[in-house]
């Protein structure tokens, strides 16, 4: 047990060093990125709009689930390919444990504000979703309703599944963050 804690701390130090080396202290990811470890192996997918704080990516996980969540569980931050790339901090609540994620990330992919991180998706929203009707105020529908509306509209909007998913995440972040 003690040994695993020591490993975790070593890993933590490693993560700190990575983010310190490749990213500024605070910010938000401005695109989806796949993290790699020192050997180049992909360890996790992190989604745009995920916060980097003090050089760390902090997320919450449920037992048996590789999804990374925000503290309130309303936003996903990504998914782990390799569970060993997450380091538990020891904090836990409501069946979730707090983790830190390790990996390499370029500082170009981190914006100083959430608005800046979302700007390319915002542009996409206002281009694609205002070509038949006006762009809808994001808060006109709930997060859940937007999911249904996106599934109705993505074919009318003639966009790919990944763009539709990106737009939905953008809307969700605007409403909830």
């Amino acid at each position: 047990m003690k040994r695993s804690i020591i490993i975790c701390y070593i890993a933590l130090i490693f993560v700190f060093s990575i983010f310190t080396a490749f990213a500024s202290g605070y910010g938000w990811l401005n695109k989806d990125i796949e993290l790699t470890d020192v050997s180049g192996k992909k360890t996790a997918l992190l989604q745009f709009g995920s916060p980097i704080s003090d050089g760390k990516l902090t997320a919450w996980m449920r037992k048996g689930d590789k999804t990374l969540y925000s503290e309130n569980g309303r936003i996903t931050y990504g998914i782990l390919y390799d569970l060993s790339s997450a380091v538990e901090t020891g904090s836990a609540k409501q069946g979730m444990k707090e983790v830190l994620i390790k990996g390499f990330i370029k500082s170009d992919y981190i914006s100083q504000t959430l608005e800046a991180a979302l700007s390319s998706y915002e542009d996409m929203y206002y281009e694609i979703c205002s070509s038949c009707h006006s762009a809808i105020n994001h808060r006109r529908f709930s997060v859940e309703q937007w999911a249904g509306i996106m599934s109705s509209m993505k074919t009318h909007a003639k966009i790919s599944d990944s763009d539709a998913a990106g737009l939905y995440r953008y809307i969700k972040l605007v409403i909830t963050e």
Binding site: C132, S134, A135, E144, Q145, M153, T155
Partner: protein, 797 residues
């Protein structure tokens, strides 16, 4: 039923079945009556009425040849040349005489002459007004009524989109939420189904034709609805209905009107009283529940809130059992018929179909919610041939990426009003209304800027609107023809018709099987200019030309749009041949709405708070609206045949879509000779009602209520239920006194009579179908309909 497979339109034609079936119905005899003998240069183009080869001689469109893939070209399509060259074309930029002199007497609109000005003068004046309004009152005081895009199907030159882009760059404007078509449904269904549903893809016709045994047309007339399209129709939906009939499908039409579709399909007609659909649905639900004939396993697995609903229909809440006998007194359909239908609907393969007409009524939110609840009790939702089927979905999807579309971008003003609230907003700046759990406060409007929209025929309660327009200091309209909105404007800018501009667009908005080149067919007529050119010139004057155009001409934008298309065909080849056709993959032909949800509601939940179909919505209930409670409920409309007002006004007026025009477009051309009566819009009256009123076929009739009065020509027809009359929407407005508000309309513009009252606090949507009227035969002479007479334009020529 499987016999439809492999029988194509050409096969039917060979067998003579298609032509004889259609001819016998009378529904499409225009197909065979129309010929086109024009000769000249042929140029491909596409319109809301269909794709064509325009036949051109010099600068005149001599005729059109429908595209080979158009299954049932309409009279409107063949009339396009006449529409383009109509005597109502606006020839020059015009300014109302006193307005040009700097006076702002808004009461003179509609009865004062215009002065011809050159484009520079007009554009400078418009730019000055925009600047002044922004500076003095803010961007919120600019209102854009056009939002739907029914004036032009191109993806680059659509007036409403171009205007949104222009106004957004200018700092914003007050905009419209929702639409007139389906405003109630689009606001309630996200609470019930987690999405818009009525604009979603629906079960394909391939699956319906194969699996449906009985199709219920609830307030639905597909043959009329599908004559036009939001983009470019190929009328293959009609082909599906012909095939379904030939395959022996049973049709039931629940409608106050015996529609052309019902007639063609040999449908059983259930002539329900208008606006009472929900009561009838409640009674069917009651019958299914009390006889234990409903699908309780479906209800338990896929829905929430049924316990509350069942207490409502059995009267535990209000002491009123929603039995067939109860409903009979409301909807006029016998209890026996309701019971029989409840039994028939339980059979496998019953599809409840509807469009939007039933929800354009008081408490219109309840209609689709009720029908979905009934479909759930029948337990066939998510099956190939059963459940419900809403709106225009049904054609299978090619899956191809379509041309990229010009976008509007951001609107910084953020002020919005629900569609149908224009008159109320103009008359009540500062008033706060409820809206879908929120509040909206009306801005004070100083500039009403129209592009691609004829609001005087579109908006209910014309007199309220005209009164409201008098409070607006400036009205600017970009138009093709001198319709009423142009006549009631201060500045009128003549714009090109579709045949005079280049553009690109796609085929059916659901199937995506075509991309269409909209090649310019003739040079702009008179001094008309493209909307894009007009707004570019204005943007130049206002300092954001570069942002508006991004350095592109309209043709550059068309190439930009085409670059998005999934094809190897060079643009030049596409532009030359005029179209690209895509095939539909087999798997897309097997699409069934909510099939995934039915398979596993846990892994494919709906996007409602519960993840299930919400027969009871806690969210809706939490709003506390007395006119839209938390479950489907029969609420008496303000105006219907059971209202006290029906003692005074005994007839329920339906203002449904016209057959021979698209809203008000094409009301002014010779097609009207086919259906107008003594130059007026027909009012269709049941023979017994006509006899009681002493009205004969062809008589001139005044139709009136407290909101106004219109003159129509009587058409006596047993296709109307008793005490229900019909005046199709879209006839051009022709006031007896053009300077006054409240004048009789001599042309029969039905919105003079319809209420602007909203459906409920939830959607605040159009409820024009809740309308009572009286009728009387006109005695003596009456002025001519002058709707198609152009205003006086002073020129210095």
């Amino acid at each position: 039923m499987n016999g439809y497979d492999g029988i194509s339109r050409r096969d039917l034609l060979k067998m003579g079945l298609f032509s004889s079936a259609l001819m016998m119905s009378g529904a499409y005899n225009e197909l065979f009556a129309m010929t086109n003998s024009a000769s000249g240069v042929k140029i491909p183009h596409a319109t809301h009425f269909g794709a064509v080869m325009a036949v051109v001689s010099g600068s005149r469109v001599m005729g059109v040849e429908p595209h080979k893939n158009d299954y049932a070209p309409t009279s409107m399509l063949y009339s396009l040349p006449e529409y383009v060259h109509s005597q109502n074309r606006i020839k020059y930029p015009c300014v109302r005489k006193s307005f040009l002199a700097g006076k702002r007497d808004t009461s003179l609109r509609g009865c004062e002459e215009f002065v011809r000005v050159d484009w520079k003068t007009a554009l400078d004046l418009v730019a000055k007004i925009l600047r002044d309004v922004k500076e003095n009152y803010g961007n919120e005081s600019i209102y854009r009524p056009s939002f739907a895009g029914w004036s032009h199907p191109g993806v680059i030159g659509r007036p409403d989109i171009l205007q949104g882009r222009f106004m957004g760059l200018f700092g914003g404007f007050t905009d419209t939420i929702g639409d007139y078509s389906a405003g109630a449904a689009t606001h309630i269904l996200p609470h019930v189904m987690g999405g818009l549903e009525i604009y979603s893809y629906q079960t394909t016709y391939e699956m319906i034709a194969k699996h449906t045994k009985t199709m219920v047309l609830w307030g639905s007339d597909p043959f009329k609805t599908f004559r036009i399209s939001y983009s470019v129709p190929d009328h293959t939906r009609i082909e599906w209905f012909v095939n379904m009939k030939n395959a022996g499908m049973k049709f039931i039409s629940i409608d106050p009107v015996y529609t052309e579709t019902a007639k063609f399909m040999d449908a059983e007609w259930i002539p329900i009283k208008p606006n009472t659909d929900v009561a009838m649905i409640m009674a069917i639900c009651f019958e299914l529940f009390t006889t234990n004939e409903y699908d309780s396993s479906f209800i338990n697995k896929y829905t929430v809130g049924f316990d509350i609903f069942k207490n409502y229909i059995t009267g535990k809440h209000d002491g009123v059992r929603k039995s067939p006998e109860w409903a009979e007194k409301i909807c006029g359909v016998s209890a026996g018929t309701i019971r029989r239908l409840a039994f028939e609907f339980r059979k496998t393969g019953t599809l409840l179909t509807s469009h939007y007409g039933c929800q354009r009524a008081d408490n219109g939110e309840q209609f689709h919610w009720s029908l979905i609840t009934l479909a759930c009790m029948l337990g066939q939702v998510g099956t190939p041939g059963g459940g419900y089927h809403f709106g225009n979905g049904g054609l299978s999807y090619s899956g191809k990426v379509m041309p990229r579309r010009m976008s509007q971008g951001r609107n910084l003003a953020r002020t919005v009003i629900p569609a149908s609230r224009i008159g109320e907003m103009l008359l009540n700046p500062g008033r706060t209304i409820d809206f879908n759990g929120n509040k909206i406060t009306y801005p004070k409007i100083s500039l009403l800027h129209n592009m691609g929209s004829n609001i005087i025929t579109q908006q209910p309660n014309t007199n309220e609107l005209l009164e409201g327009m008098r409070s607006v200091e400036n009205i600017i309209t970009h138009e093709i023809v001198w319709n009423a909105t142009a006549k009631y404007s201060d500045i009128v800018l003549p714009v090109t018709s579709t045949f005079e501009r280049n553009d690109i667009t796609y085929g059916d908005p659901y199937s995506h099987t075509h991309i269409w080149a909209m090649k310019q067919v003739i040079p702009p007529l008179y001094e008309a200019k493209d909307d894009y050119w007009v707004l570019t010139e204005l943007a130049k004057r206002l300092g954001f030309e570069k942002e508006f155009t991004e350095g592109r001409s309209q043709m550059d934008w068309i190439r930009w749009s085409y670059a998005n298309v999934e094809t190897n065909m060079p643009f030049e080849q596409f532009w030359r041949q005029g179209f690209i056709e895509f095939k539909v993959p087999s798997k897309n032909k097997r699409f069934v709405r909510l099939e995934d949800y039915r398979k596993n509601p846990n892994t494919s939940p709906l996007f409602t708070p519960s993840g299930r179909i919400e027969i009871f919505s806690e969210k809706v209930a939490s709003f506390g609206y007395d006119d839209c409670p938390g479950h489907p409920t029969w609420i008496e409309p303000k105006e219907w045949l059971g209202a006290d007002l029906a003692q005074t006004h005994k007839y329920h007026l339906l203002s449904i879509h016209p057959k021979h025009r698209m809203h008000s477009q094409m009301d002014n051309i010779s097609l009207k000779e086919q259906y107008k009566i003594k130059g007026r819009e027909p009012v269709v009256i049941n023979p017994e009602d006509a006899w009681e009123l002493g009205i004969k076929d062809g008589d001139l009739v005044e139709v009136y209520n407290e909101r106004g009065s219109i003159i129509c020509g009587a058409q006596i027809s047993s296709t109307m239920r008793r005490n229900v009359v019909r005046v199709d929407e879209g006839a051009w407005y022709s006031p007896e006194d053009a300077c006054g508000v409240g004048a009789r309309c001599l042309g029969g513009n039905v919105n003079v009579l319809t209420p602007s009252r909203p459906t409920s606090k939830l959607a605040q949507a159009c409820a024009a179908h809740s309308c009572l009227v009286s009728l009387k035969k006109i005695q003596g002479k009456i002025k001519n309909n002058e709707a198609y007479k152009n205003p006086v334009v002073i020129t210095e020529e």
